[in-house]
């Protein structure tokens, strides 16, 4: 799984995140009679026609593909709920609405595999896409506000897929800020000439490394994640902050 993808870019690839989401429990209505199954992940069933029961998503999809059940969409996947969530997402620019941790992957799997079980499927699909877009936009604007040494970033209710997409950029950016905005980097007035020369010498090199580093991440992010394009503004902000720090050092 993670060993196959490049560990420096992202810890998981999108299909790997989807794999993890397949353990979420959904409700199905079987149309066959079957004994209970004792799985590694738990016991499920027995199954009787027309009697709803709860199984992990992968089992539901497997049964669905064989035409043995219909899946009941989870309650958050109805048009009214989603409309409400979308409105709330738009109204609160600094908060994420509570959705299941794996909502992106679950909705994808259900929309792909159980289309006849979901009422108003086109509406549901477009609402979920809109919600994703609004949330990603918030993450982007959130990134722009990072402008110095940061110890903690709160992202309550951010989902698994969203975490996975912003992780490489966010971690590198925070690391860079942490390193270059440290109190030791800022020149002490009583320090010797000798040390000053050292610091000045060190300055430009750091800025070079950081900017190329950021640049690299940016191009990688832009290339591999079309859903999440980091815009130039946040890069500009980051670069500007780095150069300010370096100026502080050389003064």
């Amino acid at each position: 799984m993670a060993g196959q993808s490049n560990p420096h870019l992202s810890i998981f690839s999108a299909p790997e995140v989807e794999f993890l989401a397949e353990d979420e429990v959904v409700e199905i209505v079987p149309n066959i009679k079957m004994d209970a199954v004792n799985m590694i992940c738990g016991d499920f069933g027995p199954f009787f026609p027309q009697i709803a029961t709860k199984v992990p998503l992968w089992l539901a999809v497997a049964l669905k593909k064989r035409g043995k059940c219909s899946i009941r969409p989870p309650e958050w996947m109805f048009v009214e709920r989603l409309t409400h969530v979308l409105e709330a997402e738009r109204e609160s620019p600094r908060e994420f609405q509570p959705l299941p941790f794996h909502y992106v992957e679950m909705s994808k799997l259900l929309l792909d595999n159980a289309h006849e079980d979901i009422p108003d499927i086109y509406m549901v699909r477009s609402l979920i896409e809109d919600i994703r877009d609004v949330r990603f936009h918030k993450v982007e604007t959130g990134l722009e506000t990072i402008s110095g040494r940061t110890h903690a970033v709160k992202l309550k209710n951010l989902s698994a897929m969203e975490v996975n997409i912003v992780r490489p950029f966010m971690v590198r950016a925070l690391q860079a800020f942490y390193k270059h905005d440290s109190p030791e980097m800022i020149q002490q007035p009583e320090s010797t000439v000798n040390r000053r020369a050292q610091v000045v010498d060190r300055g430009p090199r750091n800025i070079f490394v950081t900017v190329t580093g950021l640049n690299m991440i940016l191009s990688v992010v832009a290339k591999s994640r079309d859903a999440f394009v980091v815009n130039n503004a946040s890069f500009g902000a980051a670069a500007a902050a780095v150069s300010t720090t370096v100026m502080n050092c050389s003064l």
Binding site: I11, D35, V37, I40, L59, H151, K154, A160, V171, Q175
Partner: protein
């Protein structure tokens, strides 16, 4: 349909209790796997319970196939087994990756005790091979004093050429339960109030204790 011997042993008498136990250990597997990838450091080796279960499940599967049971049931068990194996494999692969990257560092610290027996053998061989390779390709041609794999030169007091995992980094984490006010730096200026189910990006160094204590999950 008859349930096989192995199935009985697994599911058997205890019923509900047995099921719960299995369920928990599978969850642990997923958690270990997720955390294992997110954690810059190496974690302890989990119990061998998972492996036993997989063996039992394989037996069940064989029996089902022999008894020519319902194809559907056989295929579902097969899927369950495949998923578990996939998870286990990727977990082991992640560990091997960490060992390959930091073999010398691991062998010299108490991280060594966190490896399984096979992993220790793997790490030893890894180090031997790497040593031989570096020796033959570069080190033997360097002037005296610069020929160590572990030291920059003979004047270094400590081993300063050993790659170590970067622990001074940021991780995404989710709180399991209320932790309360938590200090993030040494000076006590940065304090966050960790409430259950919050998602934060924090410095790994500062929350390491919480991760080890199982009070916070890496995501």
């Amino acid at each position: 349909m008859e349930r096989g011997e192995a199935a009985k042993r697994r599911g058997g008498g205890g019923g509900g209790h047995g099921g719960k136990k299995r369920c928990r250990s599978s969850e642990e597997g997923v958690e270990e796997r997720e955390g294992g990838a997110g954690d810059p450091a190496l974690r302890g080796w989990p119990s061998s319970e998972g492996r036993e279960q997989i063996q039992l499940l394989e037996e069940t599967l064989d029996e089902f196939t022999e008894n020519r049971s319902d194809d559907l049931v056989v295929s579902l068990y097969q899927m369950d087994l495949d998923r578990a194996l996939f998870l286990l494999r990727s977990y082991l692969r992640i560990r091997l990756q960490k060992i390959e990257n930091y073999m010398v560092h691991i062998s010299k610290t108490n991280l060594w005790n966190r490896l399984s027996e096979q992993e220790q053998r793997f790490a030893k061989r890894c180090i031997e091979i790497m040593e031989k390779h570096l020796e033959q390709s570069v080190l033997s041609r360097l002037p005296y004093g610069y020929q160590s794999m572990l030291k920059q030169s003979i004047s270094s007091e400590e081993d300063d050429m050993v790659p170590e995992p970067q622990l001074d980094t940021f991780v995404f984490c989710k709180t399991k339960s209320d932790v309360g006010a938590f200090q993030l730096d040494d000076t006590g200026e940065e304090i966050v109030d960790l409430v259950a189910d919050d998602l934060y990006v924090l410095r790994y160094k500062s929350i390491r204790g919480l991760v080890d204590g199982g009070r916070i999950d890496l995501v």
